[in-house]
């Protein structure tokens, strides 16, 4: 056990001086445990056959190929993910995590690999408001959000008045529960990123629609335990994927071609 570890360390030291054709480091088959929840389509989700697929799986597979990593996947809930990665239980977390300063106290982030914009998801028969300003102007209107998530912060700072305790924001534990509350009429607005929003609209038979302009721009990054030596090589790989159009191809595949909720 010790011997193989020593050998692996030696190979690693040797190969660190080598480099692939693109100038990316060769990590010599290093094992990386990646954690995700599979609850954020189309980044990672279960398809109709129950297989875990998505943009991030494809991107990480490509990164692993280029850096010569051996990736295995584990699941945890979103609530558990940052503490688990921070505590070193996993080498890396991927689940569309917005790069935020307060989270940087717990974990290290990669460079951004995606920019997400929010859309306003409303009931199909909604006529009282048509954009963020008209929503904010009518004090009767309520929105649903998961505390501590990107839609929550966009709702507070870009739609409402910057008060995180605003009673017009109703908290839900899961994103889906917020959408059910929207359908049931308990709230009038849910913010979501464009793809998931389109998926909900498609699956709703006219019960839901999207109004207004896109809001908020959030950058997503992978997370690592503090001080992880994976951050630099993975950043290099992300840069390579951006440069050669791989990211663009993944966006086309998962955000435009793939039909969610059908």
């Amino acid at each position: 056990m010790k011997l193989t570890a020593a050998l692996a360390g030696l190979t690693f030291a040797l190969s660190a001086t080598l480099a692939t054709a693109e100038g990316l480091p060769d990590l010599a088959g290093r094992e990386v445990v990646v954690v995700t929840e599979n609850a954020y389509p189309p980044l990672q989700f279960l398809d109709a056959s129950g297989a875990a697929v998505g943009w991030e799986y494809d991107a990480v597979a490509e990164i692993a190929k280029r850096l010569n990593l051996v990736v295995s996947y584990q699941n945890s809930s979103w609530d558990a993910m940052i503490p688990a990665v921070s505590g070193g239980q996993y080498d890396m977390g991927m689940t569309g995590i917005t790069i935020r300063d307060d989270r940087k106290e717990q974990v290290d982030f990669s460079d951004p690999y995606m920019r997400s914009e929010m859309v306003m998801l409303v009931r199909g028969d909604e006529s009282r408001f048509s954009d963020a300003a008209s929503f904010a102007a009518n004090a009767d209107l309520l929105m649903a959000a998961q505390p501590g998530t990107t839609p929550f912060y966009v709702g507070v700072y870009e739609v409402l008045d910057g008060n995180e305790a605003n009673p017009r924001i109703k908290m839900f534990e899961t994103f889906g529960a917020g959408v059910e509350a929207l359908k049931a009429g308990d709230v009038d607005l849910v913010l979501t990123d464009g793809t998931a929003g389109a998926g909900y609209v498609a699956a709703s038979n006219g019960g839901l629609k999207i109004v207004g302009d896109k809001l908020g721009a959030e950058d997503f990054g992978f997370i690592f335990p503090k001080g992880s030596d994976l951050v630099a090589p993975i950043n290099a790989a992300i840069a390579a994927l951006k440069a050669d159009g791989t990211i663009e191809a993944l966006n086309q595949k998962w955000f435009l071609d793939y039909k969610m909720g059908q």
Partner: protein, 277 residues
């Protein structure tokens, strides 16, 4: 039937209908509902897809339930015996454990075991064994599944300790005195005299707690353990169909809990009949 002391109470309550005396119409209704849902699973593509995905979670739910319950039974029995100990310290320690654990919601216990207690224990272990040159233990050697089972074991051990204690107390003191007079030692008294009689008192509440454990095992989904509930959550996030998905989730749990309840009632009835002989 009307007479003094036999007036119907609220909702027409009388003592004339002991449980089990009615024809189980509720079971018929439930079976009809189950047949309808199973028909949906068979006939509708969405239900079928959801069922195929959630089926993978049934094993995790069963594993968590059976393992945590078995461990909790062992720990609970130990606590019950400790609460009857001759030593004050042992009695009080058992009491302390039961009161603390019973007073904390299981979901809090889960998060606490997963993210506070486990890392602390790993650190303590490494600090203790470090000087002896042992390889340091890593937090990741304890999967979230293991942590979830540990947390449920701790939570249920406190409930079960009370069930076992009630059972032990219910055995008549004269029985134990008689066993002592016959020269049986402590273990023999427990094994041959106390436990067989206590078991009959213990079985119904034990069965209830087992059925409750099937349902409470769903709490492990907060850690992301891929049980039926977590797979339901994840499936609904991907197919955007909450109604259909949670119908299947409920169907699977109900099938398990009702089957178990009916089986346990059978077993209790058989034990009662045996006891009367």
């Amino acid at each position: 039937m009307a007479g003094p002391g036999n007036e119907p109470g609220p909702f027409g309550m009388t003592r004339a209908h002991p449980p089990g005396s009615d024809f189980p119409w509720w079971l018929g209704l439930l079976a009809a509902l189950g047949v309808w849902l199973f028909y949906q699973v068979w006939a509708s593509a969405i239900y079928a897809q959801v069922m195929a995905t959630l089926a993978k979670g049934i094993w995790i739910t069963l594993l968590v339930t059976v393992l945590a319950f078995a461990l909790a039974c062992g720990l609970g029995l130990g606590l019950a015996l400790a609460s009857q100990s001759r030593l004050l310290v042992v009695r009080q320690m058992a009491r302390f454990y039961v009161e603390v654990v019973r007073g904390v919601p299981i979901i809090v216990l889960l998060l606490y075991v997963a993210f506070a207690a486990t890392p602390a224990l790993v650190e303590a272990w490494n600090w203790l064994t470090g000087p002896f040159g042992l390889e340091p233990m890593r937090g990741r050697d304890f999967s979230l599944l293991v942590r979830a089972i540990i947390a449920l074991t701790i939570a249920y051990s406190a409930f079960l300790a009370e069930v076992f204690r009630a059972g032990l107390v219910s055995v008549d003191a004269g029985q134990i005195e008689a066993a002592e007079a016959l020269g049986l030692n402590g273990w023999q008294r427990f094994r041959h005299i106390v436990f067989p009689q206590a078991f009959r008192t213990i079985l119904p509440p034990l069965g209830n707690d087992f059925v409750a454990m099937v349902k409470d095992s769903s709490l492990v989904s907060v850690l992301g353990v891929a049980d039926i509930t977590q797979l339901g959550k994840v499936t609904a996030a991907g197919n955007f169909r909450y109604f259909e998905t949670y119908n299947v989730v409920a169907l699977i749990y109900l099938t398990m809990t009702i089957t178990l309840s009916l089986g346990l009632r059978r077993l209790e009835a058989r034990l009662r009949a045996k006891g009367k002989r």
